[in-house]
Symmetry: C2
DNA sequence: CTAGAAGCTGGAGTCGACTCTAAGTCAAAC
DNA sequence: GTTTGACTTAGAGTCGACTCCAGCTTCTAG
């Protein structure tokens, strides 16, 4: 069951084979990858799981150097749990901040979308309108200051 | 009231003067920046507002090329609202997806934090403990598979 | 037996987004 | 009147994170 080629892992994780080798060079793998015939990489399920963690950390904006740091702690084995915790907690703070920021952005974008939908005489989805109800013609609204012209 | 130097705008927006000039070169400003004595940039409140929008778009992961595209639409004036809307809606989808992803990441991290806190014999914050209650010594838990060793 | 697919390595290239440097202008403070 | 400091430009440099290339081996199918 265990024993995946780099190609299989690429398919499974969504990373390219290039990236998998790159991550390995960068020291992002907790254990050195086993090698099979002709020096080919043989990934265990554990390797793939760990890669999954790395991918999540990356996706949440943790830079590779920090992932490496964390990986090194894990590789070093028991005894440094406090440090690992610190890394994780710091990152969690950053993620929360990022979510907050994203929320603000979303508000802005949603506001703008609403404004343009209004300008174009749309109410939400066209399909939401009562069929047959005369769609109001574009009412030639004067541009509000605060909107996108100027 | 209107008429800010590049330095003032930098301070106000949190962008560096370098970045402000860079953004301008990249065509991210809706209107060309006014120039004062000796060719110095003089920013209007409108410029700063627009920069605020750009910053939010960037912060939510919109690449500069897309911000430029949107800016060009705005600069082109009335008549392309449908296109602007499309850009915004697409971006909103990406932001929502990103928030989802971040949420997953947060779950993972929070889980790991909880695991390490458990391993270290902490319950939440130390300050949450009843003072004087004997803190349990680290119970030498066997490592669960699924956790960070292997 | 040979062609093609997949793997290997070391190193180079790319891309996005800044970030900085050099050489110069200008206004105000001392 | 010179020094300081904020500004100007064109262009170069940096950094993170890939992404690809050349040249090689090795396995499988026809």
């Amino acid at each position: 069951m265990s024993g995946l080629s780099i190609g299989q892992v690429a398919e499974r994780t969504g990373l390219s084979v290039h990236t998998l080798r790159f991550y390995e060079r960068e020291g992002l793998l907790a254990q050195p990858v086993r090698r099979g015939t002709a020096g080919r990489r043989v990934y265990s399920e554990g390797d793939v799981d760990w890669l999954g963690v790395c991918i999540r950390l990356r996706a949440s904006g943790m830079p590779l150097t920090d992932i490496r740091r964390y990986t090194e702690l894990v590789r070093a084995g028991e005894g440094n749990e406090t440090e690992r915790l610190e890394v994780l907690r710091e990152h969690r703070e950053r993620v929360l901040a990022q979510m907050h920021e994203l929320d603000e952005c979303l508000k802005l974008i949603t506001h703008k979308v609403a404004v343009y939908e209004g300008r174009l005489g749309l109410r939400d989805n066209v399909t939401d309108c009562v069929p047959g109800a005369s769609r109001p013609r574009r009412p030639m609204v004067l541009l509000k200051p605060d909107e996108d012209t100027q």
